[in-house]
C-alpha cells in the first residue's frame, strides 16, 4: 500500500530528525507535584526573561493532563510519572494552568517576576 508506506515514512522521518536532541542546558528547575488532583504548590514564583524547566510529578493513581493556554503547553502525565516541561522565557505576569481531567480542583499559576 503506497500511501501507508508514505505515511510511515513521514512519521519515521520526523521522529528520526528530532531523535538526536541536546540535553537541556542549565535552566533553573521548578517542581510541582500533583496529589489528590491538586497542584502543590498551586502558586509558583519563577524568574521572568529566561527559560525554565518545570518538572510536574503525578502522585495520583490516574493520568492527568497539564494544560495551560497561557503558557501554550499541554502534556499528559501518566500515573506515578513525572514530565519536564520547558517554559519561557516569560514576560513578567501571571500564567494559569490546570489539570484538564480534574479542572475543578487542579488549578495553579506561575508568577513570573
Amino acid at each position: 500500500m503506497r500511501i501507508a508506506s508514505f505515511a510511515s515514512f513521514a512519521f519515521a522521518a520526523t521522529v528520526a530528525l528530532f531523535a538526536v536532541t541536546q540535553a537541556q542546558a542549565a535552566d533553573p528547575v521548578f517542581t510541582i507535584v500533583i496529589k489528590n488532583h491538586k497542584f502543590e504548590p498551586a502558586r509558583l514564583d519563577v524568574p521572568a526573561g529566561q527559560k525554565i524547566q518545570l518538572v510536574v510529578k503525578n502522585m495520583d493513581a490516574t493520568a492527568e493532563e497539564f494544560e495551560s493556554s497561557d503558557l501554550k503547553r499541554e502534556k499528559v502525565i501518566a500515573p506515578g510519572k513525572e514530565v519536564t516541561i520547558s517554559v519561557g522565557p516569560l514576560k513578567a505576569g501571571t500564567y494559569r494552568f490546570v489539570g484538564e481531567y480534574h479542572e475543578a480542583t487542579a488549578k495553579g499559576e506561575l508568577v513570573a517576576k
Binding site: 505515511a7 528530532f18 493520568a63
Partner: protein
C-alpha cells in the same frame, strides 16, 4: 527475528498493562459514584472537548470524499485503527513521555500531525490531477467510482491520526474516571457515550452543512478547507516542536486574541481545527502556516489548472 522479539515484548507489556487495568477495575470500585448525574455530565463535556477535533475532521473528510466507492469502509477503518492505536498510546503514555529525553510526547504528536498534513496535501494534489476524470466517470457509471480509492485511503489515514491523538487522551481520562477520583464505571460509560455522541452530532452537522453546498462547488470548498486545515495542523506541529525545544519560537507571541475569541470555547476550538486558529501564535507557527499553504497550494496549481472538476458532477 528482531521484529519477532519486539512483537513478543510488546505483547507481554500489553498483557501486563491490561491485567493491571483489570485488577484496578475489579478492586471493588463503586459502580456508581453516588454524586448523581453531575459526574456523567462533566465527564461527557471533557470527552466531547477531546474528540471535537477528530469529529470535525471526519465531517470534512466525509464531505470531501463524497461519491467515492468504499469511502465509508475506508474511513471507518481509519477510525477503528485510530482507536486501537489510541488505546496502545494510552497504555504506554508514560514510556512515550519519557522517550527522547522527555520530549517524546511532543515529538510523537508533531509526527502524527505531520503525517496528517502530508496526507491532506497529497489528497489535494491528487484530486487536482485526477478530479476531472473522476467526475466524468461519475456521470458515466452513476455515482460511485473506484478511481478515488487512493485519496480516500489518504483521508482515512488523516482520520486515523486525528482519532489516535485525541482518542488516547480520552482513553486516559475515561480510565481515570472509572478507576480513581471517586468516580464509577457507569460515569465513565454514560459520560463517555454522551460525550462521543455529542462530538458525532457536531461532525454530522458539519457534514450535512457542507453537503448543502451545490455539488459543483463542493469539491472546491472542501479542497480549500483541507488546504487550510493542513496548514493549521502544520502550525500545531510546529508548536509541539517548540515545546520540545527543537524549534525556535521566532517571537514567542505575535499577538493575543484570546479575549476576542477564547481558544477554549466551542467556536474557538472549531476555528482551531478547521482554520488553524491560535490565540497566541509564535512566529514560527505563522511561518509554518504560510509555508504549508504555499507548498500545497503551488503543488495543486502545478498539478492541474482549474478547481477540481466539480462542475462536471451530476447534480443530485
Amino acid at each position: 527475528m528482531i521484529f519477532g522479539g519486539i512483537a513478543k515484548n510488546l505483547n507481554q507489556a500489553i498483557k501486563q498493562r491490561v491485567r493491571a487495568v483489570y485488577l484496578r477495575l475489579s478492586e471493588g470500585i463503586p459502580l456508581w459514584s453516588g454524586k448523581g448525574s453531575f459526574n456523567v455530565l462533566s465527564t461527557a463535556i471533557i470527552v466531547f472537548r477531546e474528540i471535537l477535533e477528530a469529529a470535525l475532521i471526519i465531517g470534512v473528510v466525509m464531505a470531501a470524499s463524497r461519491g467515492v466507492a468504499g469511502r465509508g469502509v475506508a474511513i471507518a477503518g481509519g477510525i477503528g485503527g485510530g482507536l486501537l492505536g489510541a488505546v496502545v498510546v494510552a497504555l504506554f503514555a508514560g514510556e512515550i513521555a519519557d522517550a527522547v529525553q522527555g520530549a517524546g510526547q511532543e515529538i510523537f504528536n508533531a509526527a502524527v500531525l505531520i503525517v496528517a498534513v502530508a496526507m491532506l496535501g497529497w489528497h489535494n494534489v491528487w484530486m487536482k490531477t485526477h478530479g476531472r476524470e473522476i467526475a466524468r466517470h461519475m456521470s458515466e457509471v452513476g455515482n460511485a467510482v473506484r478511481g478515488g480509492s487512493q485519496p480516500v485511503r489518504a483521508l482515512a489515514i488523516v482520520v486515523g491520526a486525528a482519532v489516535l491523538r485525541e482518542g488516547s487522551e480520552s482513553v486516559l481520562f475515561l480510565y481515570g474516571v472509572a478507576a480513581g477520583s471517586g468516580g464509577g464505571i457507569w460515569d465513565m460509560i454514560w459520560g463517555g457515550a454522551l460525550g462521543i455522541a455529542g462530538g458525532m452530532l457536531l461532525g454530522v452537522a458539519l457534514y450535512r452543512g457542507l453537503l448543502r453546498i451545490p455539488p459543483r462547488h463542493l469539491f472546491m470548498v472542501t479542497s480549500v478547507l483541507i488546504l487550510v486545515m493542513a496548514a493549521g495542523m502544520a502550525s500545531q506541529a510546529a508548536a509541539f516542536l517548540v515545546a520540545a525545544d527543537l524549534l525556535p519560537t521566532l517571537g514567542a507571541q505575535l499577538w493575543d486574541t484570546s479575549a476576542l475569541l477564547d481558544p477554549r470555547s466551542l467556536i474557538g476550538r472549531t476555528a482551531h481545527t478547521l482554520l488553524g486558529y491560535d490565540a497566541r501564535p509564535a512566529g514560527i507557527q505563522l511561518l509554518v502556516f504560510i509555508a504549508t499553504l504555499a507548498v500545497i497550494g503551488l503543488s495543486m496549481r502545478a498539478a492541474g489548472g482549474r478547481p477540481p472538476a466539480a462542475r462536471e458532477l451530476p447534480a443530485r
